[in-house]
């Protein structure tokens, strides 16, 4: 029974992966990745990782893929740029490299002489991989990793908001360098165009604001 499930799930995993890289439309690529993730969750269940299988389906196939679908729908209008075909020679060379890597990985793993290879694995206790056990490990032995991960999530959320927020008056490409983006020096560029600056125009504070904007704009040249 486990063999049948493994064969079907691994066919689904590999077919989903190939579909992700082969389909021309990014929207279909995302859908292929969703099927890949669902099949991978079945493999996780076969390996007695119940909590990770559930997290895979809920977090990955649910939340993260919705994010992808939103972004594909947002930038999907530019069909010409999205559907640009790669060169034929590049494809052949890439496929060759991938095959070489696959052979090398298989040789490295099968030839490593690990004693667990070729076995079904050692025994496991009944609660192996359940949410209770994973939570107990996360809050005792791996507490530091857990806390660092929360910090990383916070930084990523703030970074995503800073990167993707709307900046009025930046229609011209090449107007803002990466250094300015990193240092956060993009506010002076569009200060007069902002609604708040428009309201303040004519008053003393508005004049001061504009002077500051000009001063800040000077070093840019």
């Amino acid at each position: 029974m486990a063999e049948v499930v493994f064969i079907f799930a691994s066919i689904g995993v590999i077919a989903g992966a190939i579909g992700t890289i082969a389909l021309r439309n990014p929207f279909y690529s995302v859908l292929a990745l969703v099927s890949h993730l669902l099949a991978l969750a079945a493999l996780f269940l076969l390996l007695r990782a119940e909590f990770l299988a559930a997290a895979q389906v809920v977090v990955y196939a649910g939340a993260v893929m919705v994010l992808y679908v939103f972004v594909v729908a947002y930038i999907g209008g530019d069909k010409a740029a999205l559907a640009a075909p790669a060169g034929g020679r590049l494809k052949v060379i890439s496929a060759l490299f991938a095959t070489v890597l696959l052979v090398e990985l298989c040789i490295a793993m099968v030839g490593s002489g690990l004693t667990v290879l070729g076995t079904q694995g050692t025994g496991f206790f009944p609660a192996f991989g359940t949410p209770e056990e994973i939570g107990r490990l996360l809050l005792t032995k791996f507490l530091l990793a857990f806390e660092v991960t929360s910090m990383l999530l916070l930084i990523a959320a703030v970074g995503a908001v800073v990167l993707a927020r709307r900046r009025a008056g930046l229609e011209v490409p090449g107007h803002l360098s990466v250094g300015e983006l990193v240092r956060g020096e993009f506010d002076h560029v569009n200060l007069p165009g902002r609604p708040g600056a428009e309201l303040d125009k004519g008053t003393a504070s508005g004049a001061r604001l504009e002077t500051q904007a000009e001063n800040a704009g000077l070093p840019r040249g």
């Binding site: 063999e3 493994f6 691994s10 590999i14 992966a17 992700t20 890289i21 990014p26 690529s29 990745l33 493999l43 390996l47 990782a49 990770l52 990955y60 994010l67 992808y68 972004v71 947002y74 930038i75 740029a81 999205l82 790669a86 494809k91 991938a98 890597l101 696959l102 990985l105 298989c106 793993m109 667990v116 290879l117 070729g118 076995t119 079904q120 694995g121 050692t122 192996f128 991989g129 994973i134 490990l137 996360l138 032995k141 791996f142 990793a145 990383l152 999530l153 990523a156 970074g159 995503a160 908001v161 990167l163 993707a164 900046r167 930046l170 229609e171 090449g174 803002l176 990466v178 300015e180």
Partner: protein, 99 residues
């Protein structure tokens, strides 16, 4: 099933993901291929975790999933910023780092 077969599937998925990063030019699809490679690593981690009867590999895989979610958030933010500035959404065109 033998642990070896899970590792072979993991290697296949990783190779497919690497080929995708090399072939595709859309940064969105390249992010998807990076997801494929991270998932291949997760599968290998969980296979070894099951083989040794030790749950610490599953914790490792869970942390990898969180890091992948962070990477998706930042990467998609970058793609949206590129699109908003009317730059081409194509890694072959986006060669200069000086804006």
């Amino acid at each position: 099933m033998d642990v070896t077969w899970y590792l072979v599937v993991s290697a296949a998925v990783f190779s497919i993901g690497m080929a995708g990063v090399l072939i595709r030019r859309n940064p969105l699809v390249i992010l998807l291929c990076i997801e494929l490679m991270l998932n291949a690593a997760n599968l290998a981690l969980i296979a070894f975790s099951r083989a040794h009867g030790n749950q610490e590999g599953q914790i490792f895989a869970l942390i990898v999933m969180v890091v992948a979610a962070c990477e998706v958030a930042v990467g998609l933010g970058l793609i949206v910023a590129i699109f908003r500035r009317k730059l081409p959404v194509d890694v072959d065109e986006l060669r200069g780092l000086q804006g």
